[in-house]
Symmetry: C2
Subunit: 474 residues, 2 copies
């Protein structure tokens, strides 16, 4: 553990750089109707799912191909103006906010699935393709792409934040599932990282340096992903527990036994109520694990029996099975909508989301005290978690104009992160650092490691034009 | 594909830098008997399993802890003298050779297993611990560490080269199995990358930048690894095929069906003969797949049945099972000794090893033409492969003093790599670039990507003291 993070109410450090009229004219000349300075378009690209308010970018370029991205970056680079890549806008950490001004490069029109290489279990897509679109494109080949953050995020954005989601416990995260990238560098050069080979020792792992770099080292313009055969059998079940602790202990034992469970999600009773209200489900309003098993019919049966035995030890109710694909879809859609269900439970609110992830043996230590603190605070919250990975999210529901609520939420977040770091965990399992976790990153990684990140950033982006002001200060 | 690699007989670019007597005196003063300048010690640290001859380092420091490494690096840095980390010396690509002079930092005495965190399926070790020592330390907890390059390599060296081996088809490589590192930087600072959390989006992925950086970005002084529960059931089998093509087609179909096979190795008939002679085995001297299945008894049975059906389609002989742990160990030891068996088949020879890896659908295209070329060349060779990953190794057995044999081997290697890159593969699946594949890396990754690697190297090691002359020229 390094020096503790100072407790402070978070406000973004806004230092708008000038965007010369000459640059806007140059963009308009090169891109015509693909470049917009309309206020509504700028506003739409100047916010995300974070709780911060920042002035919007000066212009939005709708890139249609890699050359568009390269040309936009080159024009911006000539004026040392920031560029911020934009996918679908589902960041929770302010990644898309123009804290230093600049232009937004919207890649949502780069939405082509370029090649499904079914025989190699890979697919190559443009960055604006969403995870659901990937799955729609490969389903007929009997394949699927498992990474599923709640939102139907863009693959470019998911790569940039090293996203994961409910299936990561079995299939890994974007770290493990991106094979290769095409990237536009700070000077507007187009490079490729990686090949379609499953493994390689060919030089520095630029692919994984870019994955999780939050747009600060390059703009991702193409992504090659790993795919998986659709499991022969899939079973999903819910199981209720008398306490959160009982549910968590069941998870810990399941993971420690090496059961290859495909999904293992916690939803606390309060959040189940919100989900029921939002998604018209009749889930039992108790603390609950949502689980899914993938494999051959025999293997799925075996896994389910093992976990049922463990659940019984911890006073779990009997499993309720979602056996048809429609029931499963309904259940997981409800899980993915927990965030929106919570937001709607308090009109006008914003969520301050936590994202700690700890070694599985520390999960109960990390989670239970934080639940007690959240309960004591009086703030409404939701609690969901990819608990099989030791990762969970509180969403503290605040009125964005209420300073006191924001202070309480930040203090809860701070206590939770401090606890997670002391337990050898991380401040962010899957959302990224963005604007909000820069101090936490420094505490977690230490000055030496963050200085190494800064040195890499300065070397690869000497004018600091690639999504500046995120991950760390320069 | 980028500009083709020039065909040239490879000779290392040796540019010895001066090592001032003052530095040697400083090392001797700080390290006493832990610093040796004895010729035999220097010679031992001046070679590896590659086929190159280079003058040895000027001194060897036997580090006993991280501070020793940091102090040695600081002393060398003050004189801008290269430092080369040394584990057990099993590199195949000249990683350990002092092509620019300097000192060797031997970490083999840093051989402590620091903590087995069985409940989290992780272990933290010093870099000199070998893979077999890791397994010995965790076996009583019912756990194992799957990554197994043939040699009993050090964990530090395996991390530095992004090693893998026979289990990678199921368990991944060092890329997927290193959770966190402690690293001494070019200035002698000690940093930590990563935590024990299973996943994280906390800033740049310095862990994976270091993994595979071949000692050029830092000296690894501590490694936290993922572990796996020992499978409830393990079965190993051999199966002979009438042609290499039949064996390879069987593998391709097995992988494409998503069978979670744990090991899937090809050995050609000639290499089986060498292995039989060396390890006193009575394997049928035909082209052969060695396979292993891990899981519950039911799952292992299911996997084996599926693969047997596929093998029958391709005229495979019936499986011969190695059912007891002793038989399995004997079989895999023989596989791991294939390299040494081959070396001993031609007294005085050295092997020039290839290491291409291609997408699984391209495996037959890549392998079969290369076999024909090798046969036509008249050079003896061995052929083994982690074919489930699309990775295989020819070892062309040459008399190191015979210029013509070396020329032929380099030409074969060149043809093979050119073919693999055209098939969207990589020049090195697991051995690393080292001295020998620098031109291939440039062809594979392109000037832009290699320039990005160079920029990172220059930023993190401005005096180019960390294992200089490897991966790329500066």
């Amino acid at each position: 553990m390094n020096a503790p993070t100072p407790i402070a109410q978070f406000a973004p450090d806004i230092r708008q750089r000038a965007v010369p009229a000459e640059l806007i004219a140059g963009l308009q000349s090169r891109f015509g109707a693909q470049c917009s300075t309309a206020q509504a378009v700028r506003d739409q690209h100047g916010r995300d799912e974070s709780a911060f308010t920042v002035p919007p970018p000066s212009a939005v370029v709708f890139a249609q191909n890699t050359q568009d991205v390269a040309d936009a970056v080159k024009l911006a680079a000539a004026h040392r103006v920031p560029v911020i890549p934009f996918g679908v806008g589902s960041s929770l950490e302010g990644h898309l906010l123009a804290v230093q001004g600049g232009i937004s490069i919207d890649v949502s029109r780069m939405n082509q699935v370029l090649a499904v290489q079914a025989e190699d279990l890979t697919v190559t897509v443009q960055p604006g393709v969403t995870r659901m679109a990937v799955n729609a494109a490969v389903k007929s080949e009997g394949l699927f792409f498992p990474i599923d953050p709640g939102a139907d995020a863009s693959i470019g954005g998911m790569a940039a934040t090293r996203a994961s989601g409910t299936n990561a416990v079995r299939y890994g995260t974007m770290r493990e599932n991106v094979l290769a990238l095409e990237v536009v560098t700070a000077s507007g050069e187009i490079i490729r990282t990686g090949t379609r080979a499953k493994k390689s020792s060919a030089g520095y792992d630029l692919t994984r340096l870019m994955v999780g770099s939050e747009g600060t080292l390059g703009v991702i313009t193409e992504v090659t992903l790993k795919l998986y055969p659709l499991p022969e059998a899939i079973s999903a079940a819910t199981c209720s527990f008398p306490t959160i602790e009982a549910a968590v202990r069941c998870v810990i034992q399941t993971i420690q036994l090496g059961v290859p469970i495909a999904r293992c999600e916690l939803i606390d009773a309060g959040t189940v109520r919100m989900v029921n209200a939002h998604s018209k489900l009749g889930l039992r309003e108790e603390h609950m694990l949502l689980m899914e098993f993938h494999g051959s019919p025999a293997s799925v049966k075996e896994q389910a029996e093992t976990v049922q035995e463990i659940a019984t030890e911890f006073d779990g109710q009997s499993f309720e099975w979602a056996t048809t694909p429609e029931e499963r879809t309904r259940l997981w859609t409800a899980r993915h909508n927990a965030y929106f269900a919570a937001i709607q439970s308090k009109p006008g609110c914003r969520a301050i989301s936590t994202d700690t992830c700890v070694p599985i043996s520390k999960l109960a230590d990390c989670l239970l005290d934080s639940v007690a603190e959240a309960d004591a605070s009086g703030l409404p919250y939701f609690l969901v978690g990819h608990v099989g990975d030791g990762n969970f999210h509180f969403g503290y529901l605040i009125d964005p104009d209420n300073t006191e609520e924001r202070r309480i939420a930040e203090a809860l977040n701070h206590q939770l992160v401090t606890r997670a770091l002391a337990l050898e965990g991380t401040c962010t399992g899957e959302h990224g650092v963005g604007l909000h976790k820069m101090d936490f990153l420094l505490t977690e990684a230490g000055t030496g490691a963050v200085d190494m990140m800064r040195t890499i950033k300065r070397a690869l982006d000497p004018d600091n034009i690639l999504n500046p002001g995120k991950i760390f200060t320069l």
